[in-house]
Amino acid sequence: MTEYAGPLPTPTIDTAPFWEHCRKHELRMQKCLDCGHVRYPASVICPKCYSENSEWASMSGKGTIYSWVVFHQAYGAFFAGIVPYAVAIVELAEGPRMLTNIIACPLDEIDIGMPVEVAFEDITAEFALPKFRPLGKP
């Protein structure tokens, strides 16, 4: 693949496992082993019960659009090549909300409440971005 010129994730001690799972096209988040709460973004404790015990649980990858915007202004050369593009907050079936892109969907068909599913996009050898497309769309 040609060299990817967009901003890359910058994994931290907390978020590195999330991105490593994404690289393998697995959407995993930390699930509290004491109260069952699924948290995102990654953290050292459960924000509900303060337990330090968690596992990287596999997510269904399905959710709905909570809100969305369309970027027309390009912040930098890379984005000038891809505007207009949609950024959304997707609420996963397991509860957490995440910031992502909506792909494989005409911009004027996007709506709040629309069912979507994860679609990983390999951008470099180290990173795949968890984006979302309309549910059931090939």
Partner: protein
């Protein structure tokens, strides 16, 4: 301690040139603004024993407040940089009053100055989190995300947001300090290019150089100074704090709890307010703040801002100098300066008749922080 309402006052306000002002550092804008505010109050550097400053958005080094004090020739008892983005403005005045009440200082200057327009490039488009990998960059997008949710939940329209931009520009046309003074129409708003949909360009505040400052002291001392004191009747703060994707609601902001606290402390209600200076980094910010303060019901902000209600001569004149949308994009201190000037009766053609009580909001991040001040003459 009992209620601090009415015990402290703003006794001086000042600002630098606004707009595109090359050749002045962020320290320089703070120094010039504080100099102007002290002159307005009839005070000198010897009278000041507290300096509070908002961190410059364009970046700063540690102990920024110390460098500012050095440039001002002030050694003091109280100094701090506060990091609450735009809400720093309202909180500085609160902390100034609390510090004076606690005996830490007698006279405190609160300042913000920066040069994002002519200084370091890319201040507001800086990439600083993994969100950037999804192209989620810059200030408008988060507010646009919240506005979209409001539109879906309550049927709010882009034309209603446009009414806010038109009203504030009309006010700026009566303010010779304003960065944008040429009136606009609703059609101009609708025709302006998309930035991040649902925001047009004219939904977004300006990017500006400049500085502004206020001087806070006790009510007793205030009575001995140059200008009519403007008393701080009530204040509040509430900080939703979390990333917008994690927020419980995108359509209720910190303004709700912050406003409730301020109204309770001041012992007044929205119907007592003569004018409002509402933080308007985007049109939506002003709309949702007016709702959360209780000037109208939740979800009715769209119709509330139409038909001249928030214009001079209307039921609740808002952002009478033009706000961030038209006077200066400098985050919020000028709203406070204008509230003080209105209550002193200094505003000439844009003066609100018999203005007695004003509310000033400040907020920052992406509806992340909020502070409220209720002021009276």
């Amino acid at each position: 301690m009992g209620s601090l309402g009415d015990k402290y006052a703003i006794v001086g306000v000042g600002h630098t040139k606004l707009g595109k002002v090359p050749g002045v550092s962020s320290i320089g804008f703070n120094v010039l603004a504080i100099k102007a505010a002290l002159e307005d109050a009839g005070l000198t550097r010897e009278d000041v024993d507290g300096v509070l400053v908002k961190y410059p958005t364009s970046g700063f080094s540690s102990l920024f407040s110390g460098k500012l004090c050095q440039a001002l020739g002030i050694t003091n008892k109280l100094m701090a940089v506060i990091d609450l983005a735009g809400a720093t403005i309202g909180t500085m005045v609160q902390y100034a009053a609390m510090a004076i009440d606690a005996g830490l200082a007698t006279t405190v200057v609160c300042s913000y100055g920066d040069n994002p327009l002519t200084g370091p490039p890319g201040t507001y488009g800086r990439v600083n989190s993994d969100d950037a990998a999804f192209g989620f960059v810059g200030a408008p997008a988060g507010y646009a995300m919240a506005a979209r949710r409001h539109m879906k939940e309550y049927g709010t329209t882009s034309e209603q947001l446009g009414a806010i931009a038109v009203a504030f520009r009309k006010h700026a046309s009566m303010n010779r300090n304003a960065q944008m003074q040429k009136p606009i129409t609703l059609e101009d708003h609708q025709r302006s290019r998309w930035v991040v949909e649902p925001f047009h360009l004219l939904d977004c505040c300006l990017v500006s150089d400049g500085g502004a400052a206020v001087v806070v002291t006790s009510a007793e001392r205030a009575k001995t100074l140059n200008k009519k004191p403007v008393y701080v009747m009530g204040w509040g703060q509430a900080h939703p704090a979390w990333d917008i994707a994690q927020r419980e609601s995108l359509t209720v902001t910190g303004a709700k709890r912050s406003g409730e606290m301020a109204f309770k402390m001041a012992g007044v209600s929205p119907k007592d307010i003569d004018l409002a200076e509402i933080y308007d980094c985007f049109t939506y910010t002003a709309l949702v703040t007016l709702e959360d303060y209780g000037f109208c019901k939740k979800g009715e902000g769209g119709s509330f801002v139409q038909n001249g209600r928030i214009e001079l001569g209307g039921e609740l004149p808002c952002n009478t100098a033009g706000g961030l949308l038209s006077e200066s994009g400098m985050p919020g201190m000028l709203l406070l300066v204008e509230a003080v000037r209105q209550l002193r009766g200094e505003c000439g053609p844009r003066q609100v008749n018999n203005a007695e009580i004003a509310i000033a909001s400040s907020q920052g991040g992406i509806l992340t922080t909020h502070a409220t001040l209720i002021l009276r003459r």
